[in-house]
Symmetry: C2
Subunit: 196 residues, 2 copies
């Protein structure tokens, strides 16, 4: 098989796998469901991935790549002040979840809860994934400190970790409530209390 076709097919499997795992979880998604959705012949999975675990680990990178594209537009938009960028970042996700019936949540958070205790290889990759998100938020907070928009004594690293985690928790409640109200409460508390 030509290398380009192999890469395209692998990407197709990852795209369909991402959608199914995002919605249904890792254990609840079978390889045959992914291949069926991707319209790829049964039995060819192991031509592209060594194992379901290898597929899952590559999915994490795929999710992070999707996330990076989405967040770069807001968090790195230097036309806006740092805290305005952060606001747009969360507003964009709020709209995404409004359009997606409050389903899905964050794939990195979902997989961390599902696999964090039972698979060390996944856990380490997922912690790196949370760090990617944390670091993007922290860069924005550091800019906010430079511009005197938040207090210089605050640890931007701890604040960024707190924001990432609190957002992940708001998504748990969103999924259980089928409402964006938990995200709106997060937004209110962050921009009117925490960052004041």
């Amino acid at each position: 098989m030509p290398e380009k076709k192999k890469i395209d097919t692998k990407l197709t499997i990852l795209e369909h796998g991402a959608r199914l795992v995002h919605l249904n979880g890792y254990h609840n998604t079978g390889i045959k469901d992914v291949l069926l959705a991707a319209n790829i012949p049964k039995g060819s999975f192991y031509f592209y991935f060594q194992s379901k675990e290898d597929f899952g680990l590559q999915l994490i990178d795929f999710f992070l790549g999707m996330n990076n594209e989405k967040t770069a537009q807001s968090l790195q938009n230097t036309d806006l002040k740092p805290l305005e960028r952060l606001k747009v970042f969360y507003d964009d996700f709020l709209h995404f979840f409004e359009e997606n019936e409050c389903k899905l949540g964050c794939p990195i958070g979902n997989l961390s809860l599902e696999l964090g205790d039972i698979n060390e290889t996944f856990r380490l990759r997922l912690r790196s994934g949370l760090d990617v998100m944390k670091n993007m938020i922290e860069e924005c907070l550091k800019d906010a400190v430079k511009q005197n928009d938040i207090h210089p004594d605050i640890s931007t690293s701890e604040l960024a970790e707190y924001l990432v985690n609190s957002w992940e928790g708001a998504l748990i409640s969103m999924k259980a409530s089928k409402s964006t109200q938990p995200l709106k409460i997060f937004d209110y508390m962050v921009f009117n209390v925490v960052l004041r």
Copy 2:
């Protein structure tokens, strides 16, 4: 079978099921694993539960019962001021997770992420579970308002929802980090920033 023996056996199944589902998740726990752990003969499961879903729903009530016992000791200890009660509540859980190698997390949060999108019956029961936790925190916050320990203009309902969700998110990060640092950051932010 005498009714008492039936109730005891059912409780034994729920206790072992709770431990396995808390650690491994719902889909990743088979009925046969639970029966093996509980030392109950195969095939007798359906004498106690109508289905795996019925078992899962009863597990949620079992988890909430465990949680109520644990939290009543702290959140309802009127020897302490309201915000001191809240601090003890979170400290008790911090110690629990230190002793449990940062595993498990909150069963209600775990199941909300795993099942919230794919099973409406579970979702509604899980949202009720989050509300039980939220209401306990809110009672404590209302007492704090009465004693002028937090600003009377704040919505105790929204603040309680925010605290429950942010804690759930800190547990995601704890599980991915295998460290209680996310819980300590939550504690610092809540008691030094949010509730100030």
